[in-house]
Structures are given as C-alpha cells and as structure tokens.
Symmetry: C2
Subunit: 255 residues, 2 copies
C-alpha cells in the first residue's frame, strides 16, 4: 500500500478520485492530555492533518480507515465522519507544485494534484499507547501534539480540527466516549480526566461517577489500581455490549 511519493504523485490521476480527499483528526489521550496526531509534509512550513486520497473503486470511509491504519498502525477504531469542507480557498497550489517538482515531475497546470480539492473530514479516537505514529513517503514527521499546543496548521486544517473538536464535544452528552481512547482497564478519575480535557472544563467527581455509572456501560472490576500514593481506586472496563448499544441508540433520549 505504501508507495513512494513520486509514483503516487505521478499515477494519482489514474488511481484516485479527482479533486476529493479525506482528512483525519486523530485524537489520543495521554498524561491527562488530549492529543492530536499531526503530520509535517516535506517542503511545507506548517503541520497538517493526516489525509489521503480515495481510490477509484474504494468507499470514502475506507480511505479514512486506510489513512488511520497507515499513520497509527491501528485498525478497528472509532471513526466518524463529521463534515465535508468545500471552500474555494482550500488548496495550496504553491506547496503542491513544490512537492511535484521535488519529486522530479512536471508541474503541469492540469496535473491532478494541482486541482482544487474538496475534503471529507473524519475524526478518530484511538488508544495513544497502541498507536505508533509513522510518517508517509511525502512527509518528514508524524507526531502527537498536545491540543493546547497545536501550531498554526496548513490551509484550513485549523478549522477542520476545531470543527472536529466541536462535534466531539456535542456528541459527548449523547454518545459514550473512551472505549478506544483509554486502555482496557482504567479508573474513574482517569475517565473523568478524559471528559474534562475534551470539554475543557472541571467536573464534580461524585456527580461524574454517578452519571457514568447511570449510563450502565461500565463494569467495575475487583482489582484496584495500587501503587500510586493515596487510596487505591477501583478499576473499570467497558461493557462492550452495552457500549455498542449506547453508540447506536444514544445515552439519553429526549421527547
């Protein structure tokens, strides 16, 4: 699947749907911080969201899965389409030209890579420790960034990230989160930190616990997390059946 940059750029026109791409906002959670996986393209000044093109005979969603897989090594992950970005301003012809030229290709005006691109945005929630960030052929770096410290991004990628975060926040009250972000076993305070960083807000310990348990998607284990200072907290894991059900039907229905 990984081909060298030159061959992708050269044959892209024959391989991919023209003018359409996917971009992935990949969230992870580590050290009580929400992280985003970013990519530094060669010749680019700014970092960017990992993205990719769609093969002519490939489902759009599958292209997103593929990007995720190739940047993190992970498959079978929480992935949601959240918006499609079709503004006119969202193509950086100069950068793309540089990429072509540096690959020894003709930067013909009609080259597929220099056309206007519409991109379908997906966000993913992945297990930070399980993911191994790896750059692709056209990028020189691939790394996790603290959400707070994300640098100015390429093109409209900042907006895309913002929209992903907004969507995630909105869905938080109706959709369970954490299964793929946290390790299999986790404590209630850890889950709370996750919610707090996503929401950017402190929550009450006791009310949080009640609410979460009320959803009925958690199983408390017999074990406790010992070793840390202070009282050892219980470990929990998700009840996968109920979790799936909550994903499908939502956590609370109104009306």
């Amino acid at each position: 699947m990984e081909e060298n940059a030159g061959s992708i750029l050269q044959n892209g026109g024959a391989l991919f749907l023209p003018g359409l791409s996917v971009d992935c906002v990949i969230f992870g959670f580590h050290d009580n911080q929400l992280k985003v996986l970013l990519l530094k393209m060669r010749h680019a000044e700014k970092w960017a969201l990992p993205g990719g093109f769609i093969y002519k005979e490939e489902e759009v969603e599958h292209a997103a899965v593929r990007v995720l897989q190739s940047r993190t090594g992970l498959s079978n992950i929480f992935l949601r389409q959240f918006h499609t970005f079709g503004e006119l301003s969202r193509t950086d012809k100069l950068l793309n030209k540089k990429l072509l030229v540096s690959s020894g290709l003709q930067a013909d005006e009609n080259h597929w890579f220099l056309q206007r691109f519409v991109t379908v945005g997906y966000y993913a929630l992945v297990n930070f420790s399980g993911a191994v960030p790896r750059p692709d052929a056209t990028s020189e770096a691939c790394a996790w960034w603290d959400l707070q410290e994300v640098p100015p991004l390429n093109l409209d990628h900042g907006d895309i990230l913002q929209k992903a975060l907004e969507t995630l926040r909105k869905q938080l009250s109706d959709q369970p989160v954490g299964y793929s972000l946290l390790p299999e076993k986790f404590t209630m305070p850890e889950l709370q930190r996750l919610y707090e960083t996503i929401l950017g807000k402190q929550l009450d310990r006791r009310n949080f616990q009640r609410r979460m348990l009320g959803y009925g998607i958690l199983k408390r284990l017999e074990e406790r997390r010992s070793g840390g200072a202070h009282k050892a907290p219980y470990l929990y894991c998700f009840d996968t059946d109920r979790y799936q059900d909550a994903l499908l039907n939502g956590l609370q229905q109104k009306w």
Copy 2:
C-alpha cells in the same frame, strides 16, 4: 443558469468538479404534514432527491443553495450539510447512459457523467407556500410528497432522506426549527404539529407551550387566529434576533 439538458451533459466535464455532487433534502410543512420535494428524472423509474453539480470555481455549499433556488425559487433559507455519501454502489450508470443517449450524446465509458459520484447531502427547511416546485431540464416532474408516502427512491436516496430526517430529529432538541418552515405568523398548535410530525410522536399541549416559551425565541402577537371553529388561538412570530442566537449557541447547554 438554467441550460438545456444536452449542453449541461456535454459540457459538464469542463464546467463541474468531477465525481462530486450535492443532493438536497428539502422539507416543507403543509396541512399538518411534513413534505419532501422530489424530482422525477426523465427515463428514470424512480423519484429522486433534487441534486446538482458543483462548478469548478464554486463553493460546495453554494451549489446546494443554487439547487434550492432553482427548484423552489427560494433563497436565503435554512440549509445544513449533514453527511457525505461515498459508497461505491451509488451510481446508476445505466440510467445515466440513457440520459446521455436521449440527449443525442456519445455514451463513452470515460464520459464525466458516467463516473462514480460522491455526493454531499444538505437538508433545507423551506416555507411550503412560498416555494414553487419546478423541474429542471433533465426531469419531467418536481413535486412535494408526504413524508409518509414517499415512494422508493433512486439509488441510495432513500438512505439519504432517512439520514437527513434523523439529523433533523437529533438537532431538534438543541436547535430551533420552524422559522423557515412556517408562515411568518403561526399559532402554538401549528408549531406543535410541526414538531410532532418531525418527531413522529404526540406531545403534550401544555408542556410543549411552556417549553417553547421557555426558549425565549417567540413573540406573542396581539392578534388571534379567528375563523376556525372553537376558541381563537393567539398568533406568534419568531424573535429573529433571539432565534439567530439560538441557532448559533443552541437552546440548552449541558455540562
């Protein structure tokens, strides 16, 4: 803007973004029924959602606005992107070939119109009485359908409609609805019927009224709707400032 079918099909490759379209789920409200605007393409057996292509130098959202404008005569309308459909199965090459041939064009395998299309779905809420359904050059009919009576639709348009409705329902508890669906002045029972048909569920008259008034987006007028049998209900209109604010910030914030 309206060109004849043949010229569109012939020149489309030069005019439009390849492989990308927009489809609009246009909702109206009349006779206490939620309606959807559907189109019957020539040579097609099934009805379809009104859709269109995106000019090479046009924002995707603007293409949706254009479709809306050209099918209903309305502009400045509530319009929301809800999902992009990128499944492989969603192109009907046979039908498209027929359309080409019937326009006297070569149905070359490479013709832009015969490629796979990804479509961006928008839904719109429009004033039924203000809209004048009009077919375009490639369609033989354009009409409102009762949501309950929608026939089997072309391709995945049934799924698209379903997803639009689902999105609308979900947003109903967080987003005001009705401004563009109802006439300028309306009664509380009328507004309630609207909510009930969207949700497919009966609501309590008194609680509904309290909730709506609680949102603070309605202004009660001095007038009443007389003429009908029974007690004359008050007329209301939306407080546009507060309505806009609610659209932006939501009706209720959690956490």
